[in-house]
């Protein structure tokens, strides 16, 4: 008998790109840095690459996150976790809720380890668990483990207005994902990922993300709040960065099995 790995794995590129940076003062809404000159005509792949580069602008980051799951009837459940990232590797530790003590190490999209307090051991997570929701929220493990869309999806320009590009992403041949299509709204002045919409294979929108409350600290310009929702049901999850530290010189040793079980 095994205990099902039912809760979340990690917080990935989405959070990496949506967090604030504000050590030690609390994050404050900040005017956006001066907009870059109007960009020249860019290929969709270049826009996506710039957006991902912006998401991963810092060499490393440690974020304290508050995840509020809002049920359709308005009931709210709040979970907290710490998220550390360096490059494509992440270490997540739940610090409240029934998953407290559970730690997750994401080495890459298909290599995820979890420390389970109940068994007092580290276990590799089966890839089929990647589409499970995190603590009943609108974020799935796959969403969180995604390190780069460009590696997994082909990209094209869906539409464009004065302020934004709308990029349409479809899975590359041979790549297994839970989504048939993803649409990003990238705001033009800073290549920020402002909205994302996920569609299943049948073309139905199953999830959306709207980011807000831009903050700027230590030269890192990010959104502080991200609201994930299911357009079909109205269920939503609010992901708020309560504190953040960037470019602290995190060692590679933080993102190892050694650290995952340290002091457990």
């Amino acid at each position: 008998m095994r205990f099902v790995f039912a809760t979340g794995l990690t917080v990935g590129l989405l959070i990496a790109g949506l967090a604030s940076a504000d050590p030690p003062a609390p994050p404050t809404p900040a005017p956006p840095p001066a907009a870059a000159p109007a960009p020249p005509q860019l290929a969709p792949g270049e826009i996506l690459a710039k957006m991902e580069a912006g998401n991963n602008a810092s060499a490393d980051q440690t974020l304290n996150e508050r995840l509020t799951v809002v049920e359709v009837d308005g009931t709210r459940r709040i979970y907290e976790f710490t998220f550390q990232q360096k490059g494509s590797k992440r270490l997540v530790e739940f610090t409240s809720g029934e998953s407290k003590g559970m730690s997750v190490l994401v080495e890459d999209r298909d290599t995820v380890y979890v420390y389970l307090p109940g068994f007092r051991k580290v276990r590799r997570v089966a890839t089929s668990a990647m589409n499970q929701p995190i603590v009943g929220s609108d974020l799935s493990n796959e969403d969180m483990a995604t390190t780069s869309w460009a590696q997994t999806y082909d990209v094209s320009l869906d539409k464009e207005d004065d302020a934004s590009w709308w990029l349409a992403l479809t899975p590359k041949r041979g790549v297994v994902t839970s989504y048939g299509k993803i649409v990003h709204r990238v705001e033009k002045s800073h290549f920020l990922q402002q909205e994302t919409h996920w569609f299943n294979a049948a073309g139905t929108e199953v999830k959306s993300l709207v980011a807000s409350q831009p903050t700027s600290t230590d030269g890192v310009y990010r959104f502080r709040l991200a609201v994930f929702s299911d357009p079909r049901t109205g269920h939503r999850s609010e992901l708020e960065t309560t504190s953040a530290r960037y470019n602290q010189g995190l060692s590679d040793d933080v993102f190892t099995l050694r650290q995952l079980q340290w002091g457990k």
Partner: protein, 510 residues
């Protein structure tokens, strides 16, 4: 994380201290947050109520439909990090039982909290870990720990470092903490090495129903109906039976057998060691290990039957001794998951066990003279194999299924009882966005056959709060098919396996 605030001290100060205080005040103000950051607190409170839902599996038929457990656990885990590379972990647990110690408590003892409200204090962990000593890629841990090895959960035959705590069979993942020293080496990111030294052996803790494996069966008139077969051959047990068939079973007074465990000595020769290497090879995680120590469950070693003729009844005292045989275990385990395999996770454990042979001897004496002497090889000295292999898969976001094939249960040691084959199947259905889970755990003994069915419905109404109702149901023959055959006892059907129970549990974690 929960933090422990430092208690504020309010000692009166001598007059001269005021100046020093002024000088030190800034430093003190700086130190307080630092200390708080070094402490981390977590734990849980769990309240458990159980009710026997069978009327036939107790020591005597008819002892069912009563509350069997009313228990509260308070667990407190404290982590202290005086230095980034040093951590001390202490995890005490207080367990309160809602029953008084006896239904015939003396009035004079009603003041005594340990009788009126019995409790037990456990220390689940108490260790210190140091990172990067003596080399940058080596960690040292020493103290009271629980260690789990193997890829397969619960049923790994390579999981021998910490014995199992089955004092509550429904809480089957618990381990017996023990004092040990562990060295973990990480020479590369793909390779982990572990070495463990355990000076003193700690046996597994057994369920309260375990003594029923040795109890004699009597009818309502108190007459002997069945004696538990010792681990002899069927022919030898036939000899034993003949000795008593001539006697009127109602003229026999046979108290329940007394069984004594013989624990290993505290000498260096009885210490245990374990070595393990784990590697990451693409989608495959693989480990190899070696363990030298003791089997954590008792194995019957010898027995003495003393017959004391008398009037009106002949008294027969049966006493037995059990030991924890030495063993060498060489094992391997793996964990694999890949898209090309349909995202199915595959886990497996295999262990070759070389046991210390155990001979069982039984002597029957009447008034000091030997009536019969029998012996049998209970555990042959030859190597045997235990293993488990399993598949797991998540279907959509709502259904998780785990299936295992097990050769050799964790309490089986290739003695006269043998090694059974089992199938474990556990579907788990997630509803209402993970707030409600229905888990249907089951194990079927393919050799008996007998089974365990353990359905659980859990609800997380709020973060950190879990409510669970469930049942633990055992099936199979209550009595052995052949009373003379030690191996014919049903694994989960025999009364020693426990009771059918309904469960209600509330857990709050922090």
């Amino acid at each position: 994380m929960g933090k422990v605030a430092r208690a504020r001290r309010a000692w009166p100060l001598p007059r001269g201290a005021a100046v020093a205080l002024l000088v030190l005040a800034p430093a003190t103000a700086e130190a307080a947050p630092a200390w708080i950051d070094k402490l981390e607190l977590s734990g849980y409170l769990q309240s458990d109520i159980r009710f026997d839902i069978d009327n036939s599996r107790g020591p005597v038929p008819g002892q069912g439909y009563t509350f069997s457990l009313n228990r509260n656990d308070f667990d407190l885990k404290l982590k202290f990090t005086p230095h980034p590379d040093v951590i001390a972990v202490v995890e005490p647990r207080v367990r309160y039982y809602g029953f008084v110690s006896s239904q015939t408590l003396a009035v004079a003892d009603l003041w005594n909290a340990s009788d009126v409200s019995p409790f037990t204090l456990y220390m689940d962990q108490a260790y210190v870990a140091v990172k990067g000593v003596p080399s940058k890629w080596i960690d040292l841990k020493a103290g009271r720990m629980q260690v789990t090895w193997g890829s397969v959960d619960v049923f790994s035959p390579n999981d021998n470092i910490s014995s199992r705590d089955l004092s509550d069979p429904l809480d089957y993942t618990r381990k017996v903490p023990n004092e040990m020293v562990e060295i973990d080496a990480y020479p590369t990111s793909r390779l982990t090495l572990n070495a463990i030294w355990i000076p003193i052996f700690q046996p597994s803790w057994l369920p309260p129903s375990a003594p029923l494996a040795y109890s004699v069966q009597k009818n309502a008139q108190g007459c002997l109906t069945q004696f538990p077969a010792p681990p002899l051959t069927v022919a030898q047990n036939g000899q034993l039976e003949k000795l008593f068939t001539a006697v009127n079973p109602c003229a026999l007074n046979i108290p329940d057998p007394s069984v004594t465990t013989y624990l290993p000595s505290n000498k260096l020769t009885d210490m245990q060691v374990g070595l393990r290497a784990r590697m990451k090879l693409g989608d495959l995680d693989v480990g190899v290990n070696y363990y030298y120590g003791r089997f954590g469950f008792p194995v019957a070693y010898d027995a003495t039957v003393l017959v004391s003729p008398g009037a009106p009844k002949t008294t027969i005292n049966y006493s037995a001794e059990v030991v924890y045989p030495r063993m060498h275990v060489v094992g391997a385990d793996f964990n694999y998951s890949s898209h090309w395999l349909g995202d199915v996770g595959v886990v497996g454990d295999l262990a070759v066990i070389v046991p210390e042979p155990v001979s069982f001897a039984l002597g029957i004496y009447e008034n000091g003279s030997q009536l019969l002497q029998l012996s049998n090889q209970n555990v042959p000295g030859k190597a045997f194999v235990k293993g488990a292999v399993g598949l797991e898969r998540t279907f959509g976001s709502a259904l998780y299924v785990d299936a295992l094939f097990i050769h050799g249960f964790f309490d089986e040691f290739n003695d006269v009882y043998g090694l059974h084959n089992y199938v474990s199947l556990t579907p788990e259905l997630h509803m209402l966005r993970d707030r409600v889970k229905l888990r249907l755990a089951s194990i079927l003994d393919l050799t008996d056959p007998s089974y365990v069915f353990y359905p659980q419905l859990t609800w997380n109404p709020l973060p950190s709060v879990e409510l669970m109702i469930g049942a633990f149901v055992l099936g199979g023959d209550l009595q052995p098919k052949n009373p003379l055959d030690y191996a014919s006892r049903s694994k989960f059907g025999q009364p020693a396996a426990g009771r059918d129970e309904a469960i209600s549990r509330v857990t709050v974690t922090w």
